[in-house]
């Protein structure tokens, strides 16, 4: 469903991505794991067509992301690292606005907005202005805008960053509920999060993929002994 071929991305003389290639099948839940500054956000931005790659291709459903960017964007729900919220709007207004921009048919908008508000446990704050909500709620509003058009692919950039443990648990539950029939890509540097959510892990270091395997395979070393994800991560990042 998603295929990248030798993606590179330069910011001036800095190379953020160094020939990233991978393939993700429909329905997979993939975690991008890496330290801060490893290139996770850049990679996600390239996948969503927000940033063009310096070289290489992103092919989604057989179409090049840059050439068919509008069609591809309809299939993608994206939550950037900082939830992109209009602080003066109410939650309902914002989700409705997102639905309008994401081609939800006019007749279905109201029903879809209400459905998403329920899914993201936002009903009790739907009439509140976004600026006065707690960070946990704001994060869920960010997820609500990402899923309002029922996208086939969900790309979440550090969705639990900066939340308290209870909020983190709620957001993880929410993501688990969204997994059905969707391809989910989630980036994080929190190892336990990957263990709870992802089936497959891509470990990124300095703009390169240094490991790409299922979680169960990664947690077994060469001799078949169990090892923790933390050990694997630290070893690869040495």
């Amino acid at each position: 469903m998603i295929r990248t071929e030798k993606l590179t991305k330069y910011f001036g003389s800095t190379q953020a991505l160094k020939g990233v290639s991978f393939e993700i099948q429909k329905g997979e839940i993939v975690g991008f794991l890496g330290r801060n500054g490893a290139g996770k956000t850049t990679l996600m931005r390239v996948l969503t067509s927000y940033l063009p790659a310096s070289s290489g291709h992103v092919i989604i459903d057989g179409k090049d992301v840059l050439k068919h960017s509008l069609a591809i964007r309809q299939k993608i729900g994206y939550l950037p690292e900082t939830p992109p919220l209009y602080s003066n709007m109410t939650v309902r207004e914002y989700v409705r606005f997102a639905a309008q921009l994401k081609d939800v048919p006019a007749k279905k908008i109201s029903a879809q907005v209400e459905k998403v508000l329920d899914q993201c446990y936002l009903r009790n704050v739907a009439h509140r202005t976004i600026s006065i909500l707690s960070k946990g709620y704001q994060q869920r509003v960010g997820i609500a805008q990402a899923i309002v058009n029922d996208p086939e692919i969900l790309i979440l950039d550090e969705p639990t960053n900066g939340l308290d443990p209870v909020q983190i648990q709620r957001v993880r539950e929410l993501i688990r509920n969204l997994e059905e029939e969707r391809t989910v890509i989630i980036s994080t540097h929190i190892l336990s999060e990957i263990e709870q959510i992802a089936e497959r892990v891509l470990i990124i270091k300095d703009g390169m993929i240094v490991a790409d395997d299922t979680l169960s395979n990664l947690l077994c070393d060469e001799q078949g002994w169990q090892q923790s994800l933390e050990d694997v991560f630290l070893r690869l990042n040495q």
């Binding site: 931005r45 927000y50 940033l51 964007r73 309809q74 919220l85 003066n88 709007m89």
Partner: protein, 236 residues
């Protein structure tokens, strides 16, 4: 079109949800009223020609306040990333935002229509000249907004956007004063670039192709550049 309208409504709601919109409306109307009274009182003429001139001058100050946040704020808060990853064309984003500012600006102009009715009550003003005068003022504002939108799309800082818009609008407005230092073809160019020489004709009841071309081509040019500017991913 639905998306353009959705963005326009969002822009208008943003204006009216902050006190800035009400302050701009209140202060503008107070200042306009004051000048209207002073001009009519000193000229004793049933014409709005000088009122239009004052309005145009004041728009140089007001428009940057309207346009400074259009794109700069979206970039600074990260919502530009949201807009540009939805299946919305860049042209629709630019149009939506432009329309939002234009509607707010039209509201300010509409509030001044009461001046016409006041002079109509006491004398017989030249109706055609009043209409063309309003068209001139509106076109000039529409052009200023297009320039402000372009400048806002070039920066992440609202303050930088406002200051740069002031510089450009001041230069455009006052460039007739520079004609005394120029000669020949340069003088012609400077005179044509100045907004002052074009707005004057409208206020006098004249609609010329040259003036219309000046306003419309600048508006289209700025909107096209704005679209290119948000497409240019250097700032991301």
């Amino acid at each position: 079109m639905n998306k353009v309208w959705a963005i326009t409504r969002k822009e208008l709601a943003a204006y009216f949800k902050s006190p800035v919109a009400y302050i701009i409306l209140f202060v503008t109307i107070c200042v306009f009223n004051m000048f209207f009274f002073m001009i009519i009182d000193s000229n004793r003429e049933a014409t709005l020609r000088d009122v239009f001139k004052v309005m145009e001058f004041l728009f140089v100050f007001i428009v940057p306040l309207l346009t400074m946040k259009t794109f700069a704020e979206e970039k600074a808060s990260g919502t530009m990333e949201f807009l540009m990853t939805t299946p919305t064309r860049n042209t629709q984003i630019v149009f939506g935002k432009y329309l939002g500012s234009i509607i707010f600006f039209t509201l300010i102009i509409a509030m001044t229509s009461v001046y016409y009715f006041i002079i109509e009550l006491f004398a017989a003003p030249d109706r055609a000249a009043v209409l063309t005068g309003y068209l001139g003022v509106w076109l000039e504002g529409a052009m200023f907004i297009a320039i402000g939108l372009l400048i806002s799309s070039l920066t992440q800082s609202q303050i930088v956007a406002a200051i740069c818009s002031y510089i450009v609008l001041f230069l455009l407005y006052f460039s007739t004063s520079f004609t005394q230092y120029t000669h020949g073809a340069v003088e012609e160019v400077v005179r044509y670039t100045a907004t002052f020489s074009h707005a004057e004709n409208f206020a006098a009841g004249l609609i010329t192709t040259s003036d219309l071309t000046y306003y419309l081509s600048t508006i289209i040019f700025c909107l096209v550049l704005t679209r290119i500017s948000i497409e240019n991913r250097l700032w991301r």
